[in-house]
C-alpha cells in the first residue's frame, strides 16, 4: 500500500510542480513525475495481483467527517495496472506533444489530477472516497477537453455535453449508493457488502439500475454514449488515450464492483439488461466507426464498440453466476478483463498515433490524408500493430481476448433458461458481426491514411513524430504483442481479479501455459506455434518465389495496373470506401445527403458547380437527446419572462417563496 500511496502523492506533487514551474522544464518535469507515479502504482498493483492479498489504508485526516478508505484488491489492482500502463505512455508522449495550450499550467496540473483520480477510483473502498475520486475524474477530464477552447467551438460543445452527461451519471451513481447504505448505516464497502442481504429485492434492483445508468454512461454504452464521440476527439491525444484506455474501463469496473461484488450478483434480468446494452453498443459503435471520416471520432466509436463487447462478457458472466454455472461465469469474466487490458493497449496506442498524425498534418480528416506510410514510418508501424490487434487478427491481443469471449458466450448455451440461451445466441451473432464491421473500419483507417497518394499538401509534407512520442507509442504496442503471443502468461492474474469480482473461488478454466488451453477441452490456441508455422511457411514461400521468379522486377505505383497515371483524386476516399455499407445500413445510420447543383445561365443542361455533402450524424442523439434539449431550452425561454431586471420583482419572488414555504411547512 505504501507504494500505491506514494504514487498518489507523486501525482499531487506533479500537479503542484505543473502549477509552479516555468517554461519547457515544466512539461518535462511533470511528465517524469507522472511516469514515476505510474511506475509506483504499477508495481503496487502487480504485487497485489501476484500475491492475491489485498492491502488497505484508512485515514480520517483527508476527508472531513468520513475519512478516506483505500483498498487495493486484485480486481482494483488490475484496473490500477491498466491505468498505469496507459499513464506511462501518455506522460512520455505528453513531453513530446505539449505545445501552447496543452503545455499550460492548467492543462498539465489537470492531467496529473486526472491521473490521480484514475488511480484512486479502483482503490476507493467507501462511498465518500469513491464519489470524491469519481468527481475529480469528471471535473479534471472536463477541463482537459476544453484545452483547445480558444480555437475550437467543437471543444466547448464537447465539454458541455460531457459535463452534463457525467454529472447526471454521477448523480445516478450516488443515488444507487444511497439506497445501498440504507440497511448498513455505514459507507465502507465491506459493511455494505455484509448488509446487502438487508435490502428488499426492489431496493437491490433500484440500487443496481441507478448505478448501472451512471456506470454505463461512463463506459459509453448506447444510448448513453453521446458524449464519447464528441469528447474523445477534442481532448489532447494523450488524454484521449487515457480516457479511452482507462476512464471508460472504470465504468465497467463500477458495474462489476457494485453489481457483482457489493450487491452479490442479484437477479438474472439485471445481467440480461447489461448484455443487451452490450449488443446495442457493440453494433452501433462498429457501424458508426465504419462511416466516420474523422480518425479520432472513428477511434471513439470503436471504443464504444469494444466496451460493448466487454459489457457482453460481463453480462454473460453475471447471468451465468446468477444461474450457478460458475465455471462459465468465470471464463466470461476472465475474457472481459482480458479484453479490457488488450483494449487499453491498442486503443491507447491508436489515439497516440492519431495525435501524431494530427500534429504533423494539422487534420484529423481521413479524406485529406493518404500516403503517410513512407512519410511517418514509426507511426505507421505502431498503427499497423494496434490495428491488427483491434481487428482481432491472430497473434495479436484482440484475437486472444475475443476468442476467449466467444468461448465464454458459447459456454453459456449450457444454461437451461431459455432467455439466457437466446441472449447468448444474440451475443455471439453480435460479436461476429461486430468483428467484421471493425475490420472494415480499420482497413479503412489504415488504408486511407497510410496507403495510396497524399490527398492534400499537408499530408504530402508530413513528418514523423518526435522520438519521445515514438517511444511512447512503441511502449503501448507491447501489451498487444505480449497478450497476442502469450496470453496464458497473464491468465493467473486475471483469475485472481475475476475471483474477487465474482466472489467465487473456482479453479482456473484454463490450463497453465503461454497459450490459451481450455480445461473443458473444447478448444485451445497456441499463438507461438502459429507464429512459428507462419514464419517457416512465409520463408519457404519467399524462397520458392526467388527460385521461380528470376527475371527483373519492374516497379510501378501500387494499384495502377502497371501504368503511372493515377492522381490522388482517383483513389478511394474514406467516405466512398464506407459508402456500400452506409447504403446497406441506411435505416440505422440515416445519412444526410445533399446535392447542390448550380446551372449555367445559358442552359439548364450544363452544370456550373456541383456540391455534394454527405454526413452521418448520431441517430440516437438526434432522436432522443435533441427533443429533450429543445424542451429544456423552451422552458428556459419561458422562465426568462419572470426576469425583467427589476430588483423589486426578484425580491418579491423571494419573499413570496419564503412565505409559501413557511405556510406549507406548518
Amino acid at each position: 500500500m505504501d507504494l500505491a500511496l506514494l504514487s498518489l502523492v507523486l501525482c499531487i506533487v506533479g500537479a503542484l510542480l505543473a502549477l509552479s514551474l516555468n517554461g519547457s522544464v515544466r512539461v518535462v518535469v511533470t511528465g517524469i513525475v507522472g511516469i514515476a507515479a505510474c511506475l509506483g502504482a504499477l508495481a503496487a498493483a502487480l504485487r497485489v495481483l501476484i500475491d492475491g492479498n489485498s492491502v488497505s489504508f484508512h485515514s480520517t485526516l483527508l476527508l472531513p467527517l468520513s475519512g478516506i478508505d483505500l483498498t487495493l484488491d486484485p480486481l482494483g489492482a488490475l484496473f490500477v495496472a491498466v491505468t498505469s500502463i496507459v499513464g506511462i505512455a501518455s506522460c512520455l508522449y505528453y513531453i513530446g506533444y505539449a505545445r501552447d495550450e496543452s503545455g499550460s499550467r492548467l492543462s498539465l496540473s489537470m492531467f496529473m489530477l486526472f491521473l490521480l483520480s484514475l488511480l484512486l477510483v479502483p482503490m476507493a473502498s467507501s462511498v465518500m472516497t469513491w464519489m470524491f475520486a469519481w468527481e475529480i475524474m469528471a471535473l479534471s477530464s472536463m477541463l482537459l477537453i476544453t484545452t483547445e477552447h480558444r480555437h475550437s467551438q467543437a471543444a466547448r460543445r464537447a465539454a458541455l455535453w460531457y459535463g452534463v452527461m457525467t454529472q447526471l451519471g454521477a448523480g445516478s451513481i450516488l443515488l444507487g449508493f444511497l439506497i445501498m447504505t440504507l440497511p448498513a448505516h455505514a459507507q465502507t464497502f465491506t459493511l455494505l457488502e455484509q448488509h446487502a442481504g438487508g435490502l428488499t429485492s426492489l431496493e437491490r434492483s433500484a440500487a443496481f439500475i441507478f448505478s448501472l445508468i451512471g456506470f454505463a454512461s461512463k463506459a459509453g454504452a448506447v444510448p448513453l454514449h453521446v458524449w464519447l464521440p464528441k469528447a474523445h476527439p477534442e481532448a489532447p491525444s494523450p488524454i484521449s488515450a487515457l480516457m479511452s484506455g482507462s476512464m471508460v474501463a472504470l465504468g465497467i469496473y463500477g458495474i462489476i464492483r457494485v453489481g457483482l461484488t457489493l450487491l452479490g450478483g442479484g437477479s438474472l434480468w439485471w445481467w440480461l439488461v447489461v448484455t443487451s446494452l452490450g449488443v446495442a453498443s457493440a453494433l452501433f459503435g462498429a457501424l458508426h466507426a465504419t462511416t466516420s471520416t474523422d480518425i479520432k471520432r472513428l477511434l471513439a466509436y470503436s471504443t464504444i464498440d469494444v466496451m460493448g463487447l466487454v459489457l457482453l462478457g460481463v453480462g454473460a458472466a453475471g447471468a451465468m453466476a446468477a444461474t450457478h454455472h460458475h465455471e462459465v461465469a468465470h471464463l466470461a469474466m476472465v475474457a472481459s478483463l482480458l479484453l479490457i487490458v488488450a483494449h487499453s493497449g491498442f486503443k491507447g496506442c491508436l489515439f497516440l498515433a492519431a495525435g501524431a498524425i494530427e500534429r504533423s498534418t494539422g487534420t484529423r480528416n481521413l479524406d485529406q490524408l493518404g500516403g503517410l506510410l513512407s512519410r511517418m514510418r514509426v507511426t505507421a508501424i505502431v498503427f499497423v500493430v494496434a490495428t491488427l490487434s483491434v481487428m482481432a487478427v491472430p497473434l495479436f491481443s484482440g484475437f486472444s481476448s475475443e476468442w476467449l469471449l466467444f468461448e465464454g458466450l458459447l459456454g453459456g448455451f449450457i444454461s437451461h433458461n431459455s432467455a439466457t440461451s437466446i441472449a447468448m445466441l444474440v451475443s455471439v451473432t453480435a460479436l461476429a458481426l461486430t468483428g467484421g464491421l471493425t475490420a472494415i473500419a480499420f482497413v479503412k483507417a489504415f488504408g486511407i491514411a497510410f496507403l495510396g497518394q497524399p490527398r492534400s499538401s499537408n499530408a504530402e509534407h508530413a513528418r514523423d513524430a518526435s522520438p519521445t512520442m515514438g517511444v511512447a507509442m512503441f511502449f503501448l504496442c507491447i501489451p498487444s504483442i505480449v497478450l497476442g503471443l502469450a496470453p496464458g502468461s497473464v491468465i493467473p492474474l486475471l483469475n485472481r481479479a475475476s475471483d474477487v469480482g465474482l466472489r467465487l473461488h473456482v479453479a482456473s478454466p484454463l490450463r497453465p501455459g503461454a497459450g490459451l488451453d481450455l480445461l473443458s477441452s473444447r478448444g485451445s490456441i497456441e499463438p507461438l506455434l502459429i507464429l512459428a508455422v507462419g514464419v517457416i511457411a512465409s520463408l519457404g514461400l519467399w524462397g520458392l518465389l526467388r527460385l521461380v521468379a528470376r527475371g527483373g522486377v519492374r516497379r510501378a505505383a501500387a494499384w495502377s495496373s502497371g501504368r503511372d497515371v493515377l492522381t490522388p483524386r482517383m483513389q478511394y476516399t474514406a467516405t466512398s470506401f464506407a459508402e456500400p455499407l452506409q447504403r446497406v445500413f441506411v435505416d440505422v445510420l440515416r445519412p444526410d445527403n445533399d446535392l447542390d447543383v448550380t446551372h449555367e445561365s445559358e442552359s439548364r443542361y450544363y452544370e456550373q458547380h456541383l456540391a455534394f455533402l454527405n454526413r452521418v450524424d448520431d441517430t440516437i442523439e438526434n432522436s432522443i437527446y435533441q427533443p429533450v434539449i429543445k424542451l429544456v431550452r423552451r422552458a428556459g425561454t419561458a422562465a426568462l419572462r419572470l426576469q425583467n431586471g427589476s430588483i423589486h420583482r426578484y425580491l418579491a419572488l423571494g419573499f413570496i417563496a419564503l412565505l409559501v414555504v413557511l405556510v406549507v411547512l406548518t
Binding site: Q643, N644, G645, S646, I647, H648, L651, A652, G654, F655, L658, L659, L662, V663, L665, T666
Partner: protein
Amino acid sequence: MNSSSYIAALEISGGAVLVFALLTLWRRDVKANVRMLRLQGVSLACVAGVLALHQHDLGLAVTAVLVLSVKGFVAPELLHRVVRRDPRSRETAPLVNVPASLVTAAALIVISYAVSTKIIALAPSPPTRLVPIGVATILVGYFMLVTRRRAVSQIIGLLLVDNGIALVTFLLTAGVPLIVELGASLDVLLVVVVLQVLLANMRERLGTTDLDQLRELRD
C-alpha cells in the same frame, strides 16, 4: 433577577424590536428610519443582556456588548453618514403606500404567530414564546426590502431582517457561540460598508438612488 421580572424584561425588550420595525415601516423619512434602526439595535442588545443576566453566561454578555456596539452604534452611524450626504432623504414613492404596508405587516405578524406554533411546541419556555416576534421582524424587514425604492431604505430593510434573525437566534439557542456571532455581525457591517460605497458610486453616475433605474442593466 427573579422569574417574573425576567420574563417582563424579556417581553418588553423583545416587543420593542418588533415595534421599532413597524415604526420603520410607518415613517417615510429616511433619517427617522435610521433612528428607529438604532433603537432597535439597542433593544436587541437588551434582549441579549437580559438573557445573559438570567443565565449568568459571560459569552452571551460579551455578545450583548458586541450587538450594542455594531447594531446600536456603528451600523446606524454609517447609514447616518450616507443619509446626510443625500439631500433628498425622504422615501418618495414606496411601491405600496404606508397604510397598506401597515395592514400587510399586521397580516405578516399573524402568519408568523401561526408558523411559530410548532417551534414553540418543541420546547415551551419564556424565551421561545417570543420567537414569533423575531419571525415577524424578519418578515416585516423583508417586506420593506421588497416595497421600498430608495437604496438606503433597502439597506435598512436588510438590517431589519438581520436583527430579526439575531433575535430568533438569541431566543431559541440562548446565543450561538461567540465566534459565529462575531462573524455574522462583521458580515453585516461589511454589507453596509459595501452598499455605502455602491450608493456613492450610483449617485455619482446616475444622479439617483432609485433602484428601479437599474432595470436597464439587464443583459
